[in-house]
């Protein structure tokens, strides 16, 4: 589809894909979007999801913060902005075509566990209701106590050949000045193949690849439009 092609040409693709258009993250891989609260982790996560959905991949979005309705509205809003950015005429048709590829699950933070996820996912897969290629987990608290459950999740991802993206909330004081993984993330960093930091600088916001991402030669940052949180079309810039 013409419109899909336009969206796939988006710089975000070049952040998570190699030159031949294949995703850098391996099956069973973990990716993290790191930022402090309120900077726009969910918006970036949903851009990754929409990118993948447009490639006809099934995406399971797990939210530990918001109800299904709110997550659905996030998708609509982010998609509407992307469609507007690309002047897509038949917006609804494209959006309707990706909906069957998306499944939203929400849990209470304390109610979320790997066995529970596995149980829910088995329900979906055994009945051929939904088989995800990618999982997004938004709102999982990262601390020392999560190490074991993240290891379980890694095993789960490998077993089902899934790629999992997480949002990681970091403390204001944790914002790295250089390209260093924040210490809060240290304990579990080895489980992650990719880590991307959202970094506000004055009125600008950048996406900085901390680990694993493939970038254009010498270009390590992508600039974001602060109003829509979309990646600017020619957003690659040299690292600050």
């Amino acid at each position: 589809m013409f419109e899909k092609g336009l969206i796939l040409n988006h710089p975000l693709g070049r952040l998570i894909e190699n030159e031949s258009g294949e995703e850098i993250m391996p099956q069973g891989g973990f990716g993290a979007i790191l930022a402090r609260a309120g900077v726009g982790k969910t918006a970036i996560l949903i851009q990754i999801a929409i990118h993948s959905l447009l490639c006809d991949n099934n995406v399971l979005h797990i939210s530990l913060n918001d109800p299904v309705k709110k997550v659905g509205l996030w998708y609509k809003e982010v998609y509407r902005n992307i469609a507007f950015q690309h002047s897509i005429t038949d917006q609804d048709l494209v959006f309707d075509s990706i909906l069957p590829h998306r499944f939203i699950m929400t849990f209470e933070v304390e109610g979320f566990s790997v066995p529970k996820l596995e149980e829910r996912l088995t329900d979906l897969m055994e009945q051929n209701i939904f088989r995800p290629h990618m999982i997004l987990i938004d709102g999982l608290p990262f601390d020392e106590s999560q190490k074991a459950s993240l290891s379980d999740l890694k095993f789960f991802a490998k077993k089902h050949s899934l790629k999992i993206w997480f949002t990681v909330r970091i403390h204001r004081d944790e914002i790295p000045v250089t390209d260093v993984i924040p210490s809060l993330f240290d304990d579990v960093e080895d489980l992650f193949e990719t880590a991307i930091l959202i970094q506000p600088e004055g009125k600008e916001i950048y996406l900085k690849v901390l680990k694993g991402g493939k970038t254009d030669s010498g270009m390590t940052r992508l600039s974001l439009d602060p109003t829509t949180m979309l990646i600017n079309q020619n957003g690659w810039i040299k690292s600050a």
Binding site: H61, P67, V68, K69, V71, G72, L99, P100, R102, F103, I104, M105, T106, F107, E108, G111, F112, K116, R120, D123, L124, E126, Q127, N128, I129, F130
Partner: protein
């Protein structure tokens, strides 16, 4: 009536079907001396329980319409609404909770927390109604109050704390140990009316002491004084614990649990004590109205009797003396002879008879003070209307009314029934906002819709019994639509010039898909179609929309643009151009690639998590797209979009899949094109229907 609202309790009794609410209410009325004999629900003595006033209720042993009644206990006036237990009558439960200050959640000690208990609990949460739990049927085989308390905690998330300990269970159930006074309570006499207190039996002393510790520990979270007393190891008085429990109960942070067997006349009086001690009085609850004169700004109401009146009509009943309106006065006083205003209609109403209801009997009173529930005669209003004193324009926050989930086409079996049906429908729709009726424009059928199959069945049955109207019910037809998917041109000449007055008109232009149902755009220049015939052209096209050429469904989403044409000085007429428009439409329509659209419903299922997999499977089988699932502790909410055509009979399927523990709501979301295979099936079915009609 008592002017001191601190001694008033407006309570509801809610629970799953067959938990024994009506029996419990019957016993309450007996012990409070409102009735002088006890009758069973299923009415072996031919009388039936006092609160089940409808014939049908007595026969089926279920409560359909909630009857309001009041009684007095320990100087307190208690207004009780007995609510239906079946899931199909939830509006009755919702209405009761809207006007109540507190509730008693009745649970069966064998069945535990059942599906309707979950529904009722969610409704209580929605209206922030503080509640007590009463574990009934402790005399039944398999009774296990501990398990029910555990379920209250785990399934409903209540901080349940038992105020009593059973003395024996099942057939050995003798009485209860009151953990506040640490006395054993027995219920003697023919009807358990004589209360005997004794020392706690030796074998239960340790357990009672342990349970009391637990109770005090939980209650201490809601009273600094109690915490202090515990820390300082002072003697803890009963009143101190009660005060703490009341604080916790009013903020819905604690659910005091009582035990008993209403049928065996055990444990009802302590429950009444708890109602007066632990549930709120009207002034404990903050009620809000919206000021219509001030952009619906919320206004806090006070139960002050001197203030202007604000009252809510929450239930209507058609009795032998006319319409009976159940009303809750939130502020001011509603007295006989007053002139009040119905805020919705703006009409002035003179208050005639004011009564206090006792199931289907009534007692004449002079006025209903703020905080009380009563009933009025001869007031024409709808359920949910607000009445105020002249000079103010407040409306009570609108009641949450669930959308109907199921519809049926009905038809009278004879001409006499036809008149009676309309009378019945008129009354039912006024009484019950979840029951709707309309005449389908497409099929001409009278459609009734409501909250479930049983809900509609009961109304059909009531039409027969109360209105002598025999009704046949069918399957409703889905409102399909036709629309076009691409631009197509037309150029049609209507010409009839052989003999008599001639007809001539030519219309050219195109049709294309549109967002709106129908758009007509006249771009004719130079008078090729004279101006006086343009409206006839539009009318001609519009008339074609009622029955689409493809499958005779209404056509929507079409824009017609006319840009050329021709006329004849003598033979052109409005009729000729209408006919030309029809011809032009039929010419262009097949070229515009018409398709059939069907209504898609947003379906939300709430189910205990253990049934999540099977519920999702059932939705998936119905050509649905499941958008997501929301885990809310013991309950899971599934959101999906499903074609309406696939949803008939779903309530039954869902019930059997989940042992009746899940419920669903359904509302219109959008129209979407039906898949080719379904369109072919539909085409076949329509052709068959036509054939069978022709044969007739």
């Amino acid at each position: 009536m008592n002017d001191n609202t601190s001694k008033v309790r407006n309570i509801g009794i809610s629970a799953h079907i067959d938990s024994g609410k009506t029996t419990l209410t019957e016993r309450i009325l007996f012990y409070t001396k409102r009735i002088h004999a006890i009758h069973d629900v299923k009415g072996k003595d031919g009388i039936g329980a006092t609160m089940d006033s409808m014939e049908l209720e007595k026969e089926r042993g279920i409560t359909i319409a909630s009857a309001a009644t009041f009684c007095e206990w320990l100087d307190h006036e208690i207004n009780i609404i007995d609510t239906p237990g079946h899931v199909d009558f939830t509006i009755e439960v919702e209405r009761s909770l809207r006007v109540l200050d507190g509730a008693v959640l009745v649970l069966c000690s064998v069945g535990g927390v059942q599906s309707q208990s979950i529904t009722v609990d969610q409704q209580m949460k929605r209206y922030k109604v503080p509640c007590l739990a009463f574990i009934n049927k402790c005399d039944r085989s398999g009774a296990n109050p501990d398990r029910v308390i555990k379920q209250l905690k785990e399934k409903l998330g209540h901080n349940a704390v038992s105020l009593q300990l059973p003395i024996g269970l099942e057939a050995d159930f003798k009485g209860v140990i009151d953990l506040l006074s640490m006395r054993a309570v027995y219920f003697d006499g023919k009807n358990g009316e004589i209360i005997r207190t004794e020392d706690i039996p030796d074998n239960l002393k340790d357990e009672a002491a342990r349970k009391r510790e637990e109770l005090i520990d939980t209650a201490s979270m809601f009273s600094d004084e109690l915490t202090e007393a515990i820390l300082e190891e002072k003697k803890i008085s009963e009143s101190l614990i009660i005060e703490a429990l009341r604080n916790g109960a009013l903020s819905r942070k604690i659910t005091p649990v009582l035990l008993g067997s209403a049928y065996k006349n055990k444990g009802v009086q302590p429950l009444l004590d708890a109602v007066t001690r632990l549930l709120p009085c009207p002034s404990d609850i903050e009620n809000e109205a919206l000021d219509m004169d001030n952009e619906e700004t919320p206004v806090i109401l006070t139960a002050d009797h001197g203030q202007p009146l604000v009252a809510l009509a929450f239930k209507l009943e058609e009795g032998q003396y006319g319409q009976l309106t159940y009303i809750r006065v939130y502020q001011g006083t509603l007295a006989k002879g007053d002139t009040i205003i119905n805020v919705r209609t703006g009409r002035k109403v003179k208050v005639g008879r004011v009564v206090r209801m006792h199931a289907n009997q009534m007692e004449e009173i002079e006025s209903i003070p703020g905080g009380y529930i009563g009933a009025l005669f001869g007031i024409d209003c709808a359920s949910g209307d607000t009445f105020v004193s002249p000079g103010i324009s407040y409306t009570m926050t609108s009641m949450y009314v669930p959308k109907p989930v199921i519809s049926l086409a009905i038809a009278p079996k004879d001409s006499k029934s036809e008149t009676n049906i309309s009378k019945a429908l008129n009354r039912f729709t006024k009484e019950d906002p979840t029951f709707k009726t309309y005449v389908s424009e497409e099929t001409g059928d009278t459609i009734i819709s409501g909250m479930g199959e049983l809900h509609l069945e009961v109304y059909i049955e009531r039409m027969r019994r109360e209105y002598n109207a025999d009704v046949s019910a069918g399957k409703p037809k889905v409102a399909y639509r036709e629309t076009i998917t691409r631009k197509a041109e037309f150029n049609y000449t209507h010409k009839k010039q052989t003999g008599g007055a001639g007809q001539y008109g030519r219309i050219a232009g195109y049709m294309e898909p549109a967002e709106d149902d129908f758009i007509f755009d006249n771009q004719v220049r130079g008078g090729s179609i004279p101006t006086q015939y343009i409206s006839a052209c539009e009318k001609g096209f519009r008339n074609c929309l009622a029955k689409g050429p493809k499958m005779e469904f209404p056509v929507t989403g079409v824009k017609i643009v006319i840009n050329d044409g021709a006329s004849h000085a003598v033979d052109s007429s409005e009729m000729a151009f209408q006919a030309a428009a029809r011809g032009a439409f039929l010419e262009g329509y097949p070229k515009a690639k018409p398709t059939i659209h069907e209504p898609i419903m947003k379906v939300v299922v709430e189910t205990p998590t253990e049934f999540q997999g099977s519920v999702m499977g059932s939705l998936n089988q119905r050509r649905g797209i499941i958008f997501g699932t929301q885990d809310e502790g013991p309950i899971c909410v599934i959101e999906a979009q499903i074609p309406l055509a696939e949803m008939f009979g779903y309530s039954t399927v869902l019930r059997s899949l989940t042992q009746g523990k899940a419920q669903f709501t359904m509302e219109f979301a959008t129209y979407k094109q039906i898949p080719q295979s379904v369109a072919e099936e539909l085409e076949k079915k329509i052709a068959e229907d036509k054939k069978s009609l022709q044969k007739r």
